[in-house]
Symmetry: C2
Subunit: 168 residues, 2 copies
DNA sequence: CCGTGTTTGGTATGGTGGATAACAATTATC
DNA sequence: GATAATTGTTATCCACCATACCAAACACGG
């Protein structure tokens, strides 16, 4: 239950206003269309949405796909290392891994060097799913972006976004 | 302590694994650094983070700021129109508006034309806060982005993101 | 008028991600 | 060997997002 209840009166007799607004006219974005953060988030949502569509046959979210990619490129790493790299907090990484492991896409193996940590490895099935996912991403998702922006545009965009992500 | 590099000719006993990994080496991003969606989200988080810092004195989130901007540019509109423009669902827009209204930054005024709808208006205080917020955003937030990307780079980035947001 | 259907704001609710505290097991350090 | 730090994990909390549903108010065809 909520501990703080706002005294929002619903029977508040407020003033009334009859403002003449052309309702057929679209709402003006105004300065919002120049706010980089706003457009950035809108674009990000669209891209994620398309990613989900393209890779839907494999039932992989962007986060899950990124984990599989990292495991493939970094065999022998443990949970904290992978989670930190992706900017995921360790507690939140547990359920993510649980879902992947329950689908037999990766496994946690107790390390012999440090028995606290779990070495993460892709399974055979995980490698197969990752390979198919990559194909879908390249042939459908990134291809569509390439078509929209052009190869040079895409590279320029990636470069600037990388710069923001790393140096901002 | 660094590992003394044991000869790792041991096989995994299905439960334990001693994989020789240079833990001093950073985890490799691999193909992730070429995945536009990943870098896009990372950049978006950084930008929002900086936005929050820059506008912290006024205690405004990006969403709240965008609402104030829209209200300023579109007087006489109702909740659904504003919410739809921002891609916010009407139920979720209620509490957002509640918080703004409780801070006396905007008001809901019952429309005389259609007594179901609430006309949204900035208060005097709301206009003041918005003006100060704009100054902070321009002088601190966007200025920092300009410094990083250059004016031309920023414009190119904005153009490509807009294209993605609108046409993707 | 009247009855039906739609729209608007709102509530309740569930799902998902992100963040912190705490804990057992294990390792590191002195 | 005592103490501190680390790893995976659980339990929460909070912010967002999405859906279903409701009362009040409108639209409209009879």
């Amino acid at each position: 239950m909520a501990d703080s209840a706002k005294p929002v009166s619903k029977r508040d007799s407020r003033k009334e206003a009859a403002v003449a607004v052309d309702e057929t006219q679209a709402v003006q974005l105004g300065e919002l269309s120049d706010l980089l953060g706003y457009v950035l988030k809108r674009a990000q949502l669209k891209v994620f949405e398309d990613f989900l569509r393209c890779v839907a046959p494999l039932q992989l979210t962007p986060a899950q796909f990124s984990v599989l990619l990292l495991l493939d490129a970094n065999p022998g790493r443990n949970q904290t290392e992978i989670a930190n790299t992706l900017g995921i907090l360790r507690p939140n990484f547990v359920s993510l891994l649980d879902s992947l492991e329950s689908r037999d896409l990766c496994t946690r193996v107790r390390s012999a060097n440090d028995r606290r940590s779990h070495i993460l490895m892709l399974t055979e099935k995980g490698r197969g799913v990752l390979a198919r996912a990559k194909k879908l991403v390249v042939s459908k998702h990134e291809a569509r972006l390439n078509e929209l922006l052009g190869p040079d545009g895409r590279d320029a965009l990636l470069a600037m976004l990388t710069k923001i992500a790393e140096e901002f």
